[in-house]
């Protein structure tokens, strides 16, 4: 039962270098994982997506590629706004600056888009319905000056900002969104009002939208100051080749 002298001889520091083999094996597995990732990821996404549809616990949402939206905020906390205190301002190079309450935005003509949402970090949520006012509707109502070249967006989280060229901003697939997936936009998804730029990576779709300013040049937004592309077309920017969302 006790260690015999023979055992002791064969004790510490002798024997096969299994530790090194395990370590090198892990490195090999890591490299192999990277090699098979394109196929494995697709398989995981479809398998987890199928499970997530019937998962009341929400555990699958915590797994990698579990599907669904991820919550990203750049500030410590974001105030809640509702019918009583929400305002969207339109300022800058316009003839008629305007302030919109939620009810006023809801009273304008609404558009509906059903596209994939693609985040620049890789996750994608298929066929997500967004409803709201076309940005071009608000720009037309304000009367854009001929000197204007771009539109800047600011947010009531106090930090986030985004920009589009005037041409991009007038696209019919750019919304000031009030509803997502058939429901009013919740706070976690950037409600009550967010920007939705369907053809671009989702960082362009600023959450908690509170200000639209028409400017004479494109001013890079929050993540663009940190290295992301200003023209964030899905599949054609940020060094990525995702399938386009339009």
């Amino acid at each position: 039962m006790d260690a015999t002298p023979g055992d002791d001889e064969r004790g510490d520091g002798r024997g096969a270098p299994v530790g090194r083999r395990i370590l090198l094996g892990m490195l090999g597995l890591g490299a192999a994982g990277m090699a098979v990732a394109p196929w494995a990821q697709r398989g995981m996404e479809s398998a987890l997506g199928a499970v997530a549809d019937k998962d009341p616990t929400g555990v699958t949402g915590l797994l990698p590629n579990g599907g669904g939206f991820r919550y990203y905020s750049v500030t410590s906390s974001v105030p809640h706004k509702d019918d009583t205190n929400y305002r969207l301002t339109v300022r800058g190079l316009v003839d008629k600056p305007a302030d919109y309450r939620l009810a006023e935005l809801r009273a304008l003509p609404q558009a509906r888009l059903v596209r994939d949402v693609q985040c620049v970090t890789g996750w994608r949520v298929p066929k997500t319905p967004f409803e709201g006012v076309r940005l071009s509707t608000l720009l037309d109502a304000a009367g854009v000056s001929p000197r204007a070249k771009a539109v800047r967006f600011t947010c009531f989280d106090g930090a986030y900002s985004e920009s589009l060229t005037l041409e991009q901003a007038r696209r019919p697939d750019v919304l000031v969104a009030l509803r997502m997936q058939g429901k009013p936009l919740g706070h976690a998804h950037g409600g009550p009002v967010r920007l939705y730029v369907a053809p671009m990576y989702f960082y362009k779709s600023a959450k908690w939208l509170s200000g639209i300013t028409v400017t004479d040049e494109v001013r890079p937004g929050y993540w663009e100051d940190r290295g992301y592309d200003v023209d964030g077309w899905v599949g054609k920017s940020n060094g990525r080749d995702d399938a386009p969302t339009v």
């Binding site: 039962m1 370590l23 394109p38 990203y72």
Partner: protein, 226 residues
Amino acid sequence: MPPLSETAAAPAATARRVRRFTPAERWIHRTTAALVGVCVVSAACLYVPDLAQLVGRRALVVTVHEWTGILTPVPVLAGLASRAFRADLGRLNRFGPHDRRWLRAALRRDHSRAERPAGKFNAGQKVYAAWTAGAMLVMAATGSLMWFTGLAPLMWRTGATFVHDWLALAVGIVVIGHIGKAFADPEARRGMRTGRVDPKWAAREHPLWRTEDADHPDADHARDVH
């Protein structure tokens, strides 16, 4: 701090407690634990929706995660300057026949002492050390590919993200297991905290360990090292 825990530990055996870890080794463990801890917590704040919502500050949390992650291997690399640490790495690396016996018993869930022979480190600790070291290197490499997006083409970055995410899950589970094992054995914790352990514990848990002389902690134990 050390005197406090030592007096609390075992009054009768204070003088006879045997050296298990040198101060350098304990500092390697402490700094690695702190870096991994902050790295894992910041990862959770980026990844778990409820925590992300609670914490926000995404740019700051990303920076903390990147730097603690890339610095995690540094204490071990710096520790290679310590002879005692290098000697323990040698012990962790080599698996003798008794380690095979230990692993087979562990797979059978056989907890009898006779079936669990161990040197300074048991086979489970050796497997943990090697697996974790490999995992940390893979996490650092894949994390760097995601951090420095210019390093490699997108194909690689997608693969790196896939490996980083799934391995993170495995690392999280394994590290929780490591902490759980430590919680279950106060004397093992004391060994890591004070550097010394009760000889009875050493004889029971690590019967094949030729303990270093407690009275001459600074003596050269080159005979144990190759």
